[in-house]
């Protein structure tokens, strides 16, 4: 019998790690990986709450999150490729033409 809050804490740690990765990392692909990490953390909390309230919709929602993550990964990676073609770099600090 594990208290649900443990799962939620784990989920939070995963999410926080994802955000940290987003902030710290310079390679755009690694940043994307951090985003996926965040999404996974959220998935865990959905399933945990589905277990607590005995509502299966939580798990259904995980599906949709996964679908969105897949679509986003596909399109995002395509954008990365396009940017790489023009800027020859994967360093996110060097893609800053939009600054004021």
């Amino acid at each position: 019998m594990v208290p649900l809050s443990y799962y939620l804490v784990l989920s939070g740690i995963l999410f926080a790690s994802g955000v940290l990765g987003f902030l710290i990392k310079r390679n755009i692909i690694t940043i994307f990986l951090s985003i996926e990490l965040m999404l996974n953390g959220v998935n865990l909390s959905f399933v945990a709450f589905a277990a607590q309230w005995h509502v299966l919709s939580g798990q259904i929602f995980v599906f949709f999150v996964m679908v969105v993550a897949a679509a986003e990964a596909a399109v995002g990676l395509a954008i990365i490729i396009a940017v790489y073609r023009t800027r020859e770099t994967l360093n996110v600090d060097q893609v800053n033409l939009l600054k004021l």
Binding site: V19, F22, L23, R26, I31, V92, D93, V95, N96, L97, L98, K99, L100
Partner: protein, 676 residues
Amino acid sequence: MTPNKYLWLIPMFPLAGAAINGFFGRHSSKRAITAVALTLCGASFGLAVLIAAGFSSASAPYYFDLAHWLRSGDFQVDFSFYLDQLSLVMMLVVTGVGFLIHIYSVGYMWDDDGYYRFMSYLNLFMFFMLTLVLAKNYLMMFIGWEGVGLASYLLIGFWFTKDSAASAGKKAFIVNRIGDFGFLIALFLLIKHFGTLDYPALFSKIQPLVPETAGVGLLTSIGILLMVGAAGKSAQIPLYVWLPDAMEGPTPVSALIHAATMVTAGVYMVARSHIIFERAPSASTVVAVIGTLTALFAATIGIAQTDIKKVLAYSTVSQLGYMFMACGVGAFSAGIFHLMTHAFFKGLLFLAAGSVIHGIGGEQDMRKMGGLRTYMPWTFATMGIATLAIAGIPPLAGFWSKDEILARAFDANWVYWLIGVITAFITSFYMFRLMYMTFGGDYRGGPAAHDVRHESADAHAMHDKHAKDELAHDTHGAPHHGEHGHGEPHESPWVMLGPLVVLAILSLFGGFIGIGDRFQHFLDPVFKAAAEPGLQEPVREAGENTREYLLMGISVAVAALGWFLAWLLYSSRPQLPARIAQHLGRLYTAVANKYYVDELYAAVFVNPLINGSTTILWHDIDQGAIDGTVNASADAARHISDELRHMQSGNLRSYAGWVAAGGAVVIAYMVWMGIR
């Protein structure tokens, strides 16, 4: 009180004239303009005469309520007109003399480009003056009061392209406003303590009050403040400085506004408020003292003036002083009597001076005149009559009125009388000086001007000090009379001489109205009914008649003495004045420079005000604070956005950083709310 439904038309006719000429005059023919102006002014005069003819003391006073105006709680003021004996006299003087001067102006201003403007302004002035005189409450009087100030400004600065004229107009208006401030405060006090400004209602409330003999009470304050207003409008000390400058305006303006009517508004106002002054002895004393001192002061300045109009201007100030002296000692009817006769002879003097100026092509300096009696006989004759009148030579009008004032002044305090007599001597002197310099001897002006040596000797001692005076009045208007150019002096046309003759007749015979106290008794219902029993003039005892004849004799003797002295100095021994001036040295310089009063005012009031405004109000507050604030807020916005724009760095990670930080704040807030 009986209603009279024609009263309101008297001011309205000239207003219509002003409007018509003002709006349509620019493109109308001069005949049309003249017709409109003269007809409407004449209609006003005619109606005034008709009403006067039907005037009956039994049914007086007449009134007419034109329209509602202010309603504020219990306080109410309407557009109402009022006619009692006092306003009747004023109304006749204003419309009569005004009409004559309108006729005169037709001739005088005919060649001026702004002819339509002039006639429009003249009519406008008539409207305001009549509103002032026919008002039924102080607020209507104030409308007229301010309005005549406006008309005065417009007319003094009529040739506005000339700097000195524009400045003179401004000076007149501003100094007037200072007086008006006092007048307004007095009105506020009246409203606060009596709740009404309507003459009948207000005076009936003041009637039962006891005279304030101890200290400065309410009525004394009101009286003094009213006097401040009167001093501004009627050019008394210390607010007289605008009147000599007002000579920049065309001569008909000087005649109408600054001799006959506008400047007398102050006297009328004091007379109308006699109930207040009778119950405030200190205020009355103030009035009398100011009047007396001004009379003497202005007369002394008049001795040394060389511009013909300036002499008359100071003379006006001096004569107004006489009127205030009369009102101050309680002789209101005497003051009004002198107002009437003064309108006749001073108006005549100014018009005649205008005729002289017109006839010699614009010259106003008396040192360049002389010998004009052969060239302008009619002007000489009429002006001579006016001079006799103002000097107080019997049986002309001025003698009766001035003597009445002096007699009543003697009753009050012999010091007033003494100063009045001295002033009468000086008045006679400078007026005959004017006559001798202008009409006597040989003609000194124009291209046939004689040597400097033959000029009146004043010039020798003072010629460079009068440069300012000479520049001030140059020509008598633009455009110059081409055909009169540098020709011989000539008499004026009959359109100008006619009014001169009429006024001369009035100056000759107008005084007889006052014989035997007839004039005074006519005004009795106004002044007597409300006087305190103790303040009534003492009944003439038998022995007093001799005293009265003695006083009369003294004033006549004094006038003759002045005439003799003027003859001596300017006709018989013309080299004397220069020697006397040199002997007097500094004293003469001071008098000739009007005791440096204008310079004093400039140093004490005007320049500090201008400097203060420039440095403090303009530089510090307007540019520094207000502009500074606006500019600073613009700068602040720019700086803030300058700092904030760094948030948009184009760097993905910094955006994520901001989001994370914001998210932490939100989470913290939610936890805190949950905890509470």
